[in-house]
């Protein structure tokens, strides 16, 4: 499974599970770009079935209902949905 890498300032390992069609996901990406942080993302809707199922299982570990966007910081802190304040709080430290 291939994640896209957006280079920026290192604020920990930031992974974003997203959908290419979802506007809340787009807003999340825009905010991350604006904050200039280093992150990885994957648009799950663009994957083939097998890979998609694999990634869903992965997302479920952090977010049992597997909704998008799901953001995982340092394998630990999980942000579900587009939560600009929470994202800023975590990444502007």
């Amino acid at each position: 499974m291939e994640m896209k890498h957006v280079e920026g300032e290192n604020k920990g390992k930031v992974i974003l599970y997203a959908l290419s069609t979802c506007v809340w996901c787009k807003k999340t990406k825009r905010l991350l770009n604006q904050l200039g942080v280093d992150y990885y993302f994957i648009d799950v809707d663009l994957l083939g079935r097998e890979e998609k199922d694999k990634v869903i299982e992965e997302v479920k570990k952090y977010n049992p209902v597997a909704t998008f966007p799901t953001m995982v910081i340092d394998d630990d802190k999980v942000i579900r949905g587009y939560k600009p304040e929470e994202i800023r709080k975590e990444l502007e430290k």
Binding site: L19, S20, T21, C22, V23, W24, C25, K26, V44, D45, L46, L47, G48, R49, K52, I56, V65, A66, T67, F68, G81, Y82, K83
Partner: protein, 171 residues
């Protein structure tokens, strides 16, 4: 499997946006007044139409098999409940009057869609006889709640334009 499809043109987006806006207002619904945001969603609906053959909800992961996605074909079965509770649907394509008037801003809300086995398309159909006292079966639109008593559900819901397959037997 490659999910890339031809990009919708701005004209196509504009056309569908206008149509949805007109239909929404005629039925007492409102599109999100943030036109840029709304047009991005409309664009996503067109992409999903090309990808899956129907308007799978842009903010949910579609399965790609229509029967699986029936409850999340836009407008989804969950729109009205989310409008009532959160002033916007899950994607914020549709919003309440207070958002339209600028009294509230839509945000990312919790997912209301139940686990697969609890989705209405997999629930047992209430087949059977027409209840006593009624001369015809009653059908309910799962999208907007419209009820009608006739032999078959209508081809398209006269209120919210949902297709026939979104109707369930109510009585």
């Amino acid at each position: 499997m490659n999910q890339e499809v031809k990009e919708p043109t701005p004209e196509e987006v504009d056309k569908l946006y206008k149509r949805l806006d007109k239909e929404a207002e005629a039925a007492g619904y409102h599109l999100n007044p943030d036109i840029e945001f709304t047009k991005e969603l409309v664009r996503s609906l067109l992409i999903n139409e090309r990808r899956y053959g129907y308007w799978a909800c842009p903010c949910r992961l579609a399965d790609g098999v229509k029967q699986e996605d029936l409850d999340i074909i836009c407008p989804c079965d969950y729109r009205d409940a989310d409008l009532a509770e959160h002033d916007a649907c899950y994607c914020a394509l549709y919003v309440s009057g207070s958002v339209l008037r600028g009294e509230k801003a839509p945000e990312s809300i919790p997912e209301r869609r139940p686990a697969r086995e609890d989705r209405s398309q997999f629930k047992e159909k209430q087949e059977g006889k027409v209840p006593t006292g009624t001369s015809k079966p009653v059908w309910r639109c799962r999208v907007c709640g419209y009820l009608c008593a006739r032999e078959e559900p209508p081809g398209v819901c006269p209120i919210c334009k949902a297709k026939k397959e979104r109707f369930e037997r109510f009585m």
